[in-house]
Structure formats: structure tokens, C-alpha cells
């Protein structure tokens, strides 16, 4: 009885999952997709979203392995990937969740290879951990793209990324002019070993701190991209230091957390604050004058460039592509433009 109950529960779960992700069975491709997915329970469990199938007989099946759907930027990118894929009649995109776990992400890549997708786009959780699996994609004769962040040096694989060094560098260049002499600053870092976190910190070191020896770092910690951790660190720094002239954060989430502590606090009215990502919250803070600048890492641009690249690779127009989206510096001068963009996408209320 127990076995029967568990079997029924699992079967119901799998059917519910497939019903969600495969909305149409009108094409051969869709049928093939559904049957292959059902044959692999792990893939069925991990699969989160998919675009509608097209009526064309030449539909290319593309798998996108997201780093973690629980990460707000990764979730946004996954949604934009689906939106961008809808622009191509001959691309059917399935999204899988790596759940911020190397083991799960690697398993999702292996499953996608087994399921014979025409192309696999990987957003690595940890570049080096996924490297051998992306090499397996290439070895299987499947088109491979790494994105946000790229994994360098895989022969036959393409990449679409934003350059994290340049993203931080545009902020650092601005800060060179804005941060006052003998300033005291605090630094909030992303997770150790994360490519984007490390590159952004390197850019700040080379483009700002090495050029401004008068600036003193009075606090530096890893807040793991998290707003709540940044709140706690900033509270402690504000207690222990009379003067903080600037917050240098490797992403917007942590910058917003640190600003939350000093909002309206006497003595911190003119504090400067730099982030990266161009999130909706950061754009609002910049528009109202609380935050100084951020560099947009546009999920929309990344997704569109990914789909454009995968389309070119699938149709044979190109054999290998390595491209970056542009770094857009957002300051109070242009913030309203991006607030408007977020309002149109429903991420900021009117």
C-alpha cells in the first residue's frame, strides 16, 4: 500500500510538472520533447519553464540551465530568456534550475545532453565545476554557450556575457572624481570564488584604490550578494566609525542594504554609494538621489544576445561566437529611463 501510494504521488508530481512545462503536443518535436522528458525523472523535476512549441517542422530544441531560480538576477534572466526565445519561430526553449548547487547543475547538463537538445546554454554556478560538463556538450556535437559568467577556453563552445571587470571599472572611474580626499570607505564583496565577485573587486582595486592611496577602507566583508547581511555589516561599521564617505558594493542588493542603515541618519546625508547590476531597486534609489551609480547588467540584453547567438549557431550562420553586452552606467541623469523600463515590465509599480 505504501509503495502504491508513493508511486501514485510521484506519478502525479511528474505529470503535473510535465503538464506545466509542455503546453502543447501539436508537433512532432513537442511529442519527442515530452516523451524524452518523461523518461528522465530528474530532468522532469528540475525543468521549470518552457516556451510554446512552434508549428514549424524545423524547431530547434534549446536547453537553458539557469544557475539558480532562487537568485533574483538569475530568475530575471531565465524569464527574459523565455521572452527572447518567443521572438524566434524555430526555437523551443526549456529552462532548468541548477539550484545554486554544482552537483545539480552538472546533472541538469548531463540530462540535457542525454535528451539530445540541439543547443545547451549554461549559466554556471561555478565556472570550473561546470567546465568538464560543458566540454561534454561540445564532445557530444551539441552547440554549447556559456553565459553570465562565461567559461573561458573551451574549444568549440561559444559565450555571451557581461564583463564584470568593466562593470565595476565604469563605477570606479566615476568614483575617482567623486570620492573626496582622505575619504573613508566600506567595501561589500560577493561570494568568494565567484567569477563576477572576484573580477569586480579586482577592478575596484586596480582602477580606484591603487590610484587613490589617500582613501582608507574602514570595513570590508563578504555579504554574499545579500541585502540582509549587508544591513548587519553596515550597522556595525556605523557604530565603530565616525566617518564613512562611500559604500563600494559589488552588487546593488548589498548596496541597497547598506543604504537602508544610513537612510535619514545624521552625518550620512552625502554618502556616496556604488553598485553593479542596475536592479529595479537601485534605479529607484539613484533616481531619488540616495544611491550614486550602478552599472546595468541587463538581463534583457543578455537574453536577447543569447537567443540571437544560439540562432546564428543553429542555422550555421556562425560556428563560434564570443560576445559581451555593453556596460551602461546609470546615474541620476539617466536613472528615470531605466525606472520607466522596469515599470513597463511590471517590476516597479506606477
Amino acid at each position: 500500500m505504501t509503495a502504491l501510494f508513493i508511486s501514485m504521488t510521484l506519478a502525479t508530481g511528474l505529470l503535473a510538472g510535465c503538464g506545466n512545462s509542455n503546453s502543447s503536443d501539436s508537433t512532432d518535436s513537442a511529442k519527442q520533447n515530452a516523451s524524452e522528458t518523461e523518461s528522465d525523472s530528474e530532468a522532469a523535476e528540475a525543468k521549470t519553464e518552457s516556451t510554446d512549441e512552434t508549428s514549424s517542422g524545423d524547431t530547434y530544441r534549446v536547453a537553458y540551465i539557469a544557475r539558480a531560480q532562487s537568485d533574483s538576477f538569475a530568475a530575471w534572466l531565465a524569464n527574459e530568456m523565455l521572452t527572447a526565445a518567443e521572438q524566434y519561430d524555430n526555437i523551443a526553449l526549456d529552462v532548468f534550475d541548477g539550484q545554486a548547487d554544482d552537483e545539480k547543475e552538472n546533472a541538469a547538463i548531463e540530462n540535457a545532453i542525454t535528451n539530445k537538445y540541439d543547443a545547451i546554454i549554461v549559466q554556471p554556478n561555478n565556472g570550473e565545476a561546470q567546465r568538464p560538463y560543458v566540454e561534454q556538450i561540445v564532445d557530444a556535437g551539441i552547440i554549447a554557450i556559456t553565459t553570465n559568467a562565461r567559461i573561458d577556453g573551451i574549444e568549440g563552445a561559444s559565450s555571451v556575457d557581461a564583463d564584470p571587470y568593466k562593470q565595476a571599472a565604469v563605477n570606479a572611474t566615476l568614483a575617482l572624481e567623486q570620492v573626496p580626499e582622505n575619504a573613508k570607505v566600506v567595501v561589500l564583496n560577493g561570494p568568494s570564488g565567484n567569477f563576477h565577485a572576484d573580477e569586480r573587486r579586482k577592478a575596484w582595486e586596480a582602477e580606484f584604490f591603487e590610484k587613490r592611496s589617500d582613501v582608507e577602507i574602514v570595513g570590508e566583508q563578504i555579504a554574499n550578494w545579500n541585502k540582509d547581511e549587508a544591513v548587519q555589516y553596515m550597522e556595525d561599521w556605523v557604530s565603530s566609525t565616525d566617518q564613512i564617505d562611500a559604500i563600494i558594493s559589488m552588487n546593488d542588493n548589498m548596496a541597497a542594504g547598506a543604504l537602508e542603515v544610513v537612510a535619514g541618519k545624521e552625518g550620512f546625508e552625502d554618502i556616496l554609494c556604488y553598485g553593479v547590476d542596475g536592479t529595479a531597486e537601485a534605479c529607484l534609489l539613484i533616481e531619488e538621489g540616495t544611491m550614486t551609480a550602478t552599472c546595468l547588467q541587463s538581463a534583457i540584453d543578455l537574453a536577447e544576445l543569447n537567443m540571437e547567438s544560439v540562432h546564428k549557431l543553429l542555422t550555421g550562420e556562425e560556428t563560434e561566437i564570443n560576445v559581451d553586452i555593453n556596460e551602461v552606467l546609470i546615474t541620476q541623469e539617466n536613472a528615470s529611463e531605466y525606472v520607466k523600463m522596469y515599470k513597463e515590465r511590471g517590476l516597479i509599480e506606477e
Binding site: Q69, S70, D71, S72, A74, A75, W76, A78, N79, N189, S192, G219, E220, Q221, I222, N226, K227, D228, V231, Q232, Y233, E235, D236, W237, V238, S239, S240, N253, A256, G257, E260, T279, A280, E281, L284, L347, I348, E349
Partner: protein
């Protein structure tokens, strides 16, 4: 007649965790002159509020022989739904009640799994952790909810000079202390955790009390959800990851025994303060992030070892069991 040595040992047994805390406060104030400033002490308490409230839930469950690994995820779920309710209704009270309701609902399911279907609490609450986090992410599509307006009053507001989150923590501390120390229900939890079969035999309504403990935990997690989200001024579906461990750590450091039947409210409060002071002082003196993790682990282990070592065979469990016997 007790000798002086016996009396001294008894005092050490009872107050060992507070002695650890006192030593830590003295050391911290020597290490950094800003440690004992009112502003910094207020910071420590604000930072502790959420973890302490979760710790009380964890303590009650552990005392009665159970466990909750879902509190961080349920906190996130109740928090984002509460934020969402506030944005829809504009009512702080309805939003606050919504968080508590979600906390209760999730813990009711935990209670059904554990008490009625005899699922091990570790497994049942682990399943709830996954489900609650999944619902929070599904509901928000992984995106933070912004523009919270007056909702931040819970986590950032003050009444006079005292932050509201600290007032919540104090009131909850008193209520939990009263329940545990001065009600038959509270004292029965020690008996249930100490020996469940004997408790059933002695007429304690074990299943009913287990349900109540989960429901109290649900209320506490719901309140923690409101304080957490309002403190960070956002509905974070991926927030509070690992917070169940913060609560468990405070409870365990505070002398709650994982084997059940042992633990006190004030001990848990002291445990939370030890962890909070440790985090605070390491940031104040600029200890590297990696070194912080090592120090934190070592000090937690040492304080618990010392606490356990300093206790004689005559533990709180026995003292309270005797009290129950006297009551009945």
C-alpha cells in the same frame, strides 16, 4: 546542609551560560571601545531580534523532543506574503496577521506530519522547508518585492528611543518564559521531551501539546518574517536562508539539550546574545570573513563544552521533573 563548595557548584551549574556571556561582554568591551556604546548595544539587539524569536520556537520544540528545519523558509514565505498583503490592503494589522496565519498554517502541517503520521520531525520539517521556499519563489517569480512604504515600521521604527523590533523581542521573551516556567503546559514539555512514553502514562495530553508547540512556533516564525522583511525594506523570497540554524545555534549554545527535556528561556536569550556579540565584535575589529567563521565555530563549541562540563548530574531536567511531580 550544603557545603560552600556544593553551593558554589550549584550556582555555576545554573548560571554558567550567563558567566560565559559576561566574560564575553567584558572581553568585547576591552577589544573595542565602541562595543558598550548605547548605539552599538541597540544594533546588537536589533540584529538579534529575528534569530532570538526563531530560537524560542526552536527551544520549545527541542525541549519537547522535536525540531524545525523549516523556520527560515517559512519565515521567507510568511514575510513575502505579508508584504504582498500590505501592498494590496495598505493595512499593517492585516499584513501582520497574514504572516502569523501563514506561519501557523505551515506549522500545522508540520504538526500533522509529526504528531498524527509519526513522521520524524527532521524529515517532515525538511520537506516543509523545500515546499515553503518553493512557494515563496513561485509566488514572487524569484524577484524581490520593493516599495514597502510604512511596512518598515516593524523592523525600523522606534517607540521613543527603543526600536520596535527590540520591544517585540522583549515581550516575546517574557511570554515564552511565563509559558515555560509558570504553566502546566510549559512544564509538561520537559516531561514529554524527557520521556514521552512516561508522559503519556502519566496523563499528559502529549499529541495535543505537540500541536500547540508547533502552533506557537508558527506564530513566532510569522512575527520573525514581518520583522525580517521590514528590516531590509523588501520582500525577499530568497532571504533568511539558513536562519533555522541561527535559531538552533542560539538555543543549543543557551543550554537546550538536543536529547530533549532540557532548556530555559533565559539560557536561550543568553545563547542568542553570545552569538550576536561574537558577530558584532568581529565586525567592529575588522576580522576577516573566513577567520570569522573559524572563530565563531570554535567559540560556540568551547562555550557549549564548558557549559555542559560545568553542569553536574543534577540537571534542569530533574529539577523541573520534581516540580511537576510536586504540582500533581
Amino acid at each position: 546542609m550544603k557545603t560552600k563548595s556544593q553551593k558554589r557548584n550549584q550556582i555555576m551549574e545554573k548560571y554558567s551560560i550567563f558567566i560565559v556571556l559576561l566574560v564575553m561582554i567584558i572581553l568585547c568591551s576591552i577589544l573595542n571601545e565602541n562595543f558598550l556604546t548605547p548605539n552599538n548595544l541597540s544594533n546588537i539587539m536589533k540584529q538579534l531580534a529575528v534569530a532570538t524569536i526563531l530560537a524560542y520556537g526552536a527551544m520549545l520544540l527541542i525541549i519537547s523532543g522535536m525540531l524545525d528545519l523549516s523556520s527560515g523558509a517559512v519565515l521567507a514565505l510568511s514575510g513575502v506574503l505579508s508584504v504582498s498583503v500590505y501592498k494590496s490592503t495598505g493595512s499593517l494589522i492585516i499584513a501582520f496577521l497574514a504572516a502569523i496565519l501563514i506561519g501557523i498554517l505551515c506549522n500545522l502541517i508540520n504538526a500533522v506530519m509529526v504528531t498524527t503520521f509519526h513522521t520524524p520531525p527532521f524529515i517532515a520539517t525538511l520537506a516543509m522547508q523545500t515546499v515553503a521556499r518553493g512557494i515563496a519563489l513561485l509566488y514572487t517569480q524569484g524577484q524581490n518585492i520593493l516599495q514597502l512604504g510604512n511596512y518598515t515600521v516593524f523592523g525600523q521604527g522606534t517607540i521613543g528611543p527603543v526600536p520596535i523590533s527590540i520591544i517585540f523581542m522583549i515581550i516575546i521573551t517574557l511570554i515564552v518564559w511565563y509559558i515555560l516556567r509558570h504553566t502546566r503546559f510549559g512544564r509538561s514539555l520537559y516531561a514529554i521531551g524527557g520521556n514521552e512514553e512516561a508522559s503519556v502514562a502519566s496523563g499528559i495530553p502529549v499529541s495535543k501539546y505537540k500541536y500547540i508547540v508547533f502552533l506557537i512556533n508558527g506564530i513566532l516564525v510569522g512575527i520573525a518574517g514581518v520583522l525580517f522583511m521590514s528590516r531590509v525594506n523588501a520582500g525577499l523570497p530568497n532571504g533568511a536562508v539558513g536562519y533555522e540554524m541561527e535559531g538552533l545555534t542560539a538555543a543549543i549554545v543557551g543550554g537546550t539539550s538536543f536529547s530533549g527535556g532540557v532548556g530555559t528561556t533565559m539560557g536561550t536569550l543568553a545563547g542568542a546574545f553570545i552569538v550576536g556579540c561574537l558577530n558584532n565584535i568581529m565586525n567592529l575589529i575588522g576580522v576577516d570573513s573566513y577567520v570569522q567563521q573559524i572563530i565563531k565555530g570554535v567559540i560556540i563549541a568551547l562555550s557549549v563544552m564548558w557549559d555542559i562540563h560545568s553542569k553536574s548530574k543534577k540537571t534542569t531536567k530533574i529539577i523541573l521533573t520534581e516540580e511537576i511531580a510536586q504540582d500533581s
